[in-house]
Amino acid sequence: MKLTLKVWRQHDPSSEGSIETYEANDIPEEASFLEMLDIVNNGIIEDGGDPIAFDHDCREGICGACSLTINGVPHGKESAITTCQLHMRKFSDGDTIFIEPFRAKAFPVIRDLVVDRSSFDRIIESGGYVSIRTGSAVDANSMPIQKDDADTAFDAATCIGCGACVAACKNASAMLFVSAKAKHLNSLPQGQPEKDRRVLKMVEQMDKEGFGNCTNQYECEAVCPKSIKSEFISELNRQYAAATIKEAIG
């Protein structure tokens, strides 16, 4: 395949970035998107240039490291996959592909396509955990949990924290991420005692990090590689209002 790439290049957080054009020749259809970038980078290095920086790790869709906004859509337009799971056969020979970093003030660009997503870590630190010592794994069924609750908690827990929800949101809101993390822990008995505090703290930290406000457009849900549901956002809204009232009246 022969492709034209329009790639965001930015030397460091403080420098001005711009879109640079690269010709990608002889790209095999079976290559993943990241492998395609590896091939392009090899060419850039051979020519004595500076390779395109991008995040990657497991390359099997479970770590949440890879990012990239491809033709305006985080992780590309195929649904429920990460960039590393996107293959070049989904593109046509001669295509022009725009590759940009995940855009949000709370995700500052470190270099080229690599962004700093540590704001997500700080949200988790603010309340996305269970404080009690859980000890070693308990016997199965010693703490009965409804099947529906267990399934929902697991669905929420599949969030890999990649940040595509923020990148896709017109307002750079992190509500899908925060609601998934809150839902995961709030659905389980171990998470119940700290439920209200968790919701208040995580939302407070989310706002402090400079994420935008959800306007119920559901772009986040559409691009989420793990298909996290926007109904979790609705539940977080309700839990936040309820926790505020409980806090106010003591």
Binding site: K6, W8, I19, T69, N71, G72, V73, K77, F98, E100, R103, A104, K105, A106, A168, K170, N171, A172, S173, M175, V203, E204, M206, D207, G210, F211, G212, N213, C214, T215, N216, Q217, Y218, E219, E221, A222, V223, K229, S230, E231, I233, S234, E235, L236, N237, R238, Q239, Y240, A241, T244, I245, E247, A248, I249, G250
Partner: protein, 229 residues
């Protein structure tokens, strides 16, 4: 008491708190729209019915003013809070994509601010036109029973086609606004579940359509000559 006040100040300062305020005030305005439309449709029942209805409303000035003040408070809070949210959102997004794409967001959801601005200009015109009656002599319209002749005011008001056209355009934008806003209220207040979501959205579209058809039927009927005196 101090803790209570602090909790609510913090709530209003938060992203979710502001959204809840927009949703609650929006819900109050959505409810008003239906009541206002049902009252206005009395114009089809003839001059006596609508004039009597208007006289009945004005016979309770304290209640009428309480409702008016409540509506103004909702309207101002809805707009002020939305402006704050929009400014925060613009600042949160920073750089836009060179290749911008929309996967799921509806046209209505992406134009809420601008449809809102036009609705605001309509509301100002509408109040000056029929409530404050500025720039016209509708105050002098009195029917045979000595009541304000609302029927004649409506017929005269809509007989000028540019006014009717502006009303119809504004109503279509209002319903465009509601087509996103109605379901959004439920999402923001946490009243949505997977099972009820389809029903909530369908109700929102139906409600918007009823408001559009009901309100537009009046200027259309006047222009068509179906309502006349």
């Amino acid at each position: 008491m101090n803790l209570t006040a602090n909790s609510f100040i913090k709530f209003y300062g938060s992203s979710i708190g502001k959204k809840v305020i927009v949703a609650l005030t929006g819900l109050a305005l959505i409810g008003f729209l239906l009541g206002h439309m049902i009252g206005n449709l009395k114009v089809f029942a003839g001059p006596d019915k609508i004039n009597a209805y208007a006289a009945w409303l004005h016979s309770m000035p304290s209640l009428l003013w309480m409702a008016r003040i409540g509506l103004i408070v909702c309207f101002v809070l809805h707009i002020y809070t939305t402006i704050r949210l929009v400014l925060e959102n613009r600042s949160a997004k920073g750089n836009r994509y060179s290749a911008n794409a929309t996967v799921k967001a509806s046209g209505a959801s992406r134009t809420m601010f601008w449809s809102g601005v036009i609705i605001l200009s309509f509301v100002i015109y509408h109040i000056l036109h029929f409530t404050a009656r500025i720039g016209n002599d509708y105050d002098g319209y009195i029917d045979a029973s000595g009541r304000h002749d609302v029927f004649r005011m409506v017929v005269d008001g809509f007989s000028w086609w540019p006014a009717s056209l502006f009303y119809i355009i504004s109503m279509s934008l209002l319903c465009w606004h509601l087509s996103h806003g109605f379901a959004s209220v439920f999402q923001t207040l946490g009243l949505r579940t997977e099972r009820t979501w389809g029903l909530i959205k369908a109700t929102g579209y139906a409600y918007s359509s009823i408001i559009f058809i009901g309100n537009c039927s009046i200027p259309v009927s006047v222009l068509a000559g179906w309502i006349t005196y």
